[in-house]
Amino acid sequence: MDASAAKLIGAGLATIALAGVGVGIGNIFATLVSSIARNPAARDQVFGIGILGFALTEAVALYALLTSFLLLFTF
């Protein structure tokens, strides 16, 4: 197998990590909605933390994307 084929396969494999990120983000917002439904008064406090959690989980998606790009373009 030559290097360019291996790069493409590696880059494709790296995107499998995005499955976990999808589950994670869905989890965060599911919990956010259900906790606001239980206690609407807590909305402001919970919302900020929820958005922070979303941004941090999104970062993992971008690490996977970065790995994919690294494999494709720099090796």
Partner: protein, 242 residues
């Protein structure tokens, strides 16, 4: 044929060579200067009136200040008051750099790893020095969580140390990758609009409109996340898990 990555090219506008180092004024520097000038203008002009009941621009300046002040107060506590100017500067600079990148034909300085890594390394080194200055060698107790059996500690402490040293990388890569990915996607879909022409081009165009809104949100969110993580790291250093 233009590639979507061309928007990230650094172009020298003013060639300058300082002692053999290339210190040219680039398009990246231009937009950083514009961000600083705009931020200064908002705060200085906004507070010029100093009315007790704020007008529009003063409200904007006060909201920005209160937002970051509240964040520092909630996350670092009383020991963090002296670090507030640093956090405010960090937040406002990253916010303005990110948002100005959404202007068509502009350049996003924070889409380059060197810019974000410089800021993240500064935060990391600064927080570590603050931790050692305040607590001396007791600062290393940060890596040893309380109430953990000794056998587990042998595994846990190296993991804690590694995750501590990953901080500048995760902080910088989060911001840089978000900006890079967002702008690349916008350009890729822009290419689709041109490719599909008059008949089919409206579909990717609609997506670009919605996605630009999302990108503006992400620009703000990433500035917020950078600032709040800096506050949390400061809290770790200043208060050591208490």
């Amino acid at each position: 044929m233009h590639s979507p990555m061309e928007q990230f090219e650094i172009k020298r506008l003013l060639h300058l060579n300082l002692f053999g180092i290339d210190a040219s004024f680039t398009n990246s520097s231009t937009w950083m200067v514009i961000a600083v000038i705009l931020a200064t203008a908002v705060f200085v002009w906004g507070m010029r009136q100093r009315a007790l009941v704020p007008g529009r621009l003063q409200s904007v300046a006060e909201l920005g200040y209160e937002f970051v002040a509240g964040m520092v107060r909630d996350n670092v506590g009383d020991g963090g008051k002296k670090y507030f100017p640093f956090i405010l500067t960090l937040f406002i600079f990253i916010l303005f750099c990110n948002v100005l990148g959404m202007v068509p034909y502009s350049f996003t300085p924070t889409s380059h790893i060197v810019v974000t890594f410089a800021m993240a390394a500064f935060v990391f080194v600064g927080v570590t020095i603050i931790g050692f200055a305040r607590h001396g060698l007791h600062f290393l107790s940060l890596f040893v969580p309380k109430g953990v059996p000794f056998a587990l500690l042998l595994l846990l402490v190296p993991i804690e140390i590694i995750s501590y040293f990953i901080r500048p990388f995760s902080l910088s890569i989060r911001l840089f990758a978000n900006m890079l990915a967002g702008h690349t996607m916008l350009k890729v879909f822009g290419g689709f609009v041109v490719m599909l022409g008059i008949i089919g081009g409206w579909a990717p165009l609609a997506f670009i409109v919605v996605f630009t809104g999302l990108e503006l949100l992400i620009a703000f969110l990433q500035a917020y996340v950078f600032a709040i993580l800096t506050c949390l790291y400061l809290n770790d250093a200043v208060h050591l898990h208490h």
